[in-house]
């Protein structure tokens, strides 16, 4: 009886987010729903704006480097690589070759951990806790390795403008090689668990399809566009760091299945194959890495003065785990902070493709489709700033006072 009311002509509006268990980050979707089917999707981002680009114009380049690392905790290396490359181009700073290789190694490790993280979260969205635990067990091992090499599990802080801060010493090689070997084995197991599971395939095949034409038109990047069959990858097309030496090939689902659906399952395939590729890249770079200095600016204050004097503009790109990140920086002479810093994160480009993927799908598929893009809202939302009108500030203060009072009361009650 109730059902017929709902599936009558007028679709109901449902808001998902900004706080929702499926979304680890705040973003709001407004859905128009008919029964279980999604009719219309609207996106309201902006809950995560911290105004980073504006902050950068009040700080010096080194301070901003660490802010760039914290644009997103998962792509922490990606954004700082792009930021460093942009500022290096703008201030004409040379990077030693060894530093380029080290950046490559750290970036690829981050890709492995990010893809495994994504695989786990995707399993969680599908209600498959065991697979989530399994994927994160493998990832946890990698986090140990990253902590061993960089000193932190998430925000590595290894990059510096003009080079890197930490070296990989020869006695660390053994540990890395051992772990990499371990991953190849574990990877095969994960591969089996993800791609051979019938239930998983039932859920992901032909769900959230994005055609190559739409993918191009909506400017999507990274695994999303590759899963739609377009072999574009910044590492391959526009080589930087050490990628020019390593012959990278963009991965499309054709490599495995011989056909492209552009659905969620294809995105799983692309990401899993990229994990394998990253392991190979790290192994190659470890072999090819030359001996040399880590940075041409060992004194930080010299670097800061150099940037202060410099004038120019630069763009930095990096193929982050979720796709291309793009930084544009313009420096003005005799000014510590950059004139402008523009950040484009991968999800910023991919956000529009959600609308196309979600329309006509079921409610149950919303989380996995949203997750299939591997959204990183903190990346996307880093820009804008929010301010409340005066009147509402008062009411909020009232609210806060009330809530404080209530807590006090409870604490009294507890005693």
């Amino acid at each position: 009886m109730k059902e017929s009311v709902v599936s009558a002509k007028k679709p109901i509006k449902t808001v998902i987010g900004p706080i929702h268990p499926a979304l680890k980050e705040p973003i709001k979707f407004i859905f128009e729903i008919d029964g279980e089917k999604v009719i219309k999707v609207d996106l309201a981002p902006g809950h995560n704006h911290r105004g980073l680009e504006w902050m950068a114009t009040r700080r010096n380049a080194v301070q901003t480097l660490y802010v760039s690392e914290r644009i997103c905790g998962i792509c922490s290396i990606s954004h700082s690589i792009a930021y460093c490359r942009a500022i290096e181009q703008a201030a004409d700073i040379e990077v030693p070759v060894r530093a380029d290789y080290l950046r490559t190694i750290f970036a690829e490790m981050e890709r492995i951990h990010s893809h495994l993280l994504w695989a786990g979260v995707a399993a969680l969205e599908l209600g498959f806790d065991t697979l989530f635990y399994k994927a994160w067990e493998v990832r946890e091992d990698l986090m140990d390795l990253l902590e061993y090499l960089t000193g932190n599990r998430v925000n590595y802080g290894v990059l510096q403008i003009g080079g890197v801060r930490r070296d990989i010493t020869p006695d660390q090689h053994a540990r890395i090689n051992k772990s990499l070997l371990n991953y190849t084995i574990l990877f095969d197991e994960l591969y089996d668990m993800f791609l051979e599971d019938t239930v998983l395939r039932m859920r992901c095949r032909d769900t959230g399809v994005l055609t190559p034409e739409d993918a191009l038109k909506l400017c999507t990047v990274g695994p999303v566009i590759r899963a739609s069959g377009i072999a574009t990858d910044v590492r391959q097309d526009f080589p930087y760091c050490a990628y020019g030496d390593l012959d990278i090939k963009a991965i499309t689902p054709e490599a495995l299945a011989g056909e492209v659906h552009g659905d969620v399952f294809d995105r799983i395939i692309v990401r899993l194959l990229e994990v394998k590729q990253s392991i190979e890249i790290i192994q190659q770079s470890m072999k090819k890495m030359p001996i040399g200095p880590l940075t041409n600016f060992p004194k930080l204050m010299v670097l800061l003065n150099h940037i202060k004097q410099a004038e120019g503009e630069g763009i930095g790109r990096h193929e982050a785990p979720r796709g291309e990140v793009f930084h544009y920086i313009r420096l003005a002479a005799n000014q510590e902070s950059p004139l402008v810093w523009k950040v484009k994160a991968s999800t910023y480009s991919n956000a529009m493709s959600w609308v196309k993927m979600l329309e006509g799908e079921q409610i149950a598929d919303i989380p996995i489709i949203v997750a299939s893009v591997d959204p990183c809202i903190s990346c996307t939302d880093r820009v804008a700033m929010v301010d409340k009108g005066r009147t509402s500030i008062f009411t909020q203060d009232d609210l806060r006072r009330l809530s404080r009072k209530k807590t006090e009361r409870i604490r009294q009650g507890l005693k």
Partner: protein
């Protein structure tokens, strides 16, 4: 064909050792306060968290001796966690503000700032004695 590769794996795991590191105790002790007291007295054993590697960036440490308040650290600090006291020739480091990038420890000419391996820093007052280093 209907395939569930997870089934044999979970059945096997049922008889394997769990991957959990039981920090700080296997299950919740009856009273945390008493448990911690017992640990301090050496009567109970605290399961330690996994070892942190060499070069881990934990809570920041500060040694005021010989500090010249040159303010290099405050200039590079991305979190504004360092305040320079020019008259006393010291700095005040707010560990709650610190984002553990370790940049200040690298620029400090006298190595007065350093990263410790401590990371169990949860507190009920973010401006308590332990959280503000002078």
């Amino acid at each position: 064909m209907f395939r569930l590769p997870m089934v044999p794996r979970v059945l096997k795991q049922l008889f394997n050792k769990p991957a959990t590191n039981p920090f700080p105790a296997r299950h919740l002790p009856k009273s945390i306060t008493r448990f911690l007291e017992k640990v301090a007295a050496g009567k109970a054993e605290l399961v330690l968290p996994l070892e942190v590697p060499e070069g881990f960036r934990g809570k920041i440490g500060y040694n005021p001796e010989g500090c010249t308040a040159c303010s290099l650290c405050a200039r590079v600090c991305p979190a504004n966690a360092i305040e320079v006291n020019r008259e006393e020739k010291t700095v005040t480091v707010y560990a709650g503000h610190c984002i553990q990038c370790g940049q200040c420890t690298e620029v400090c000419p006298k190595n007065n700032l350093f990263m410790t391996k401590e990371f169990l820093t949860a507190t009920t007052d973010r401006y308590s004695e332990e959280m503000v280093l002078t």
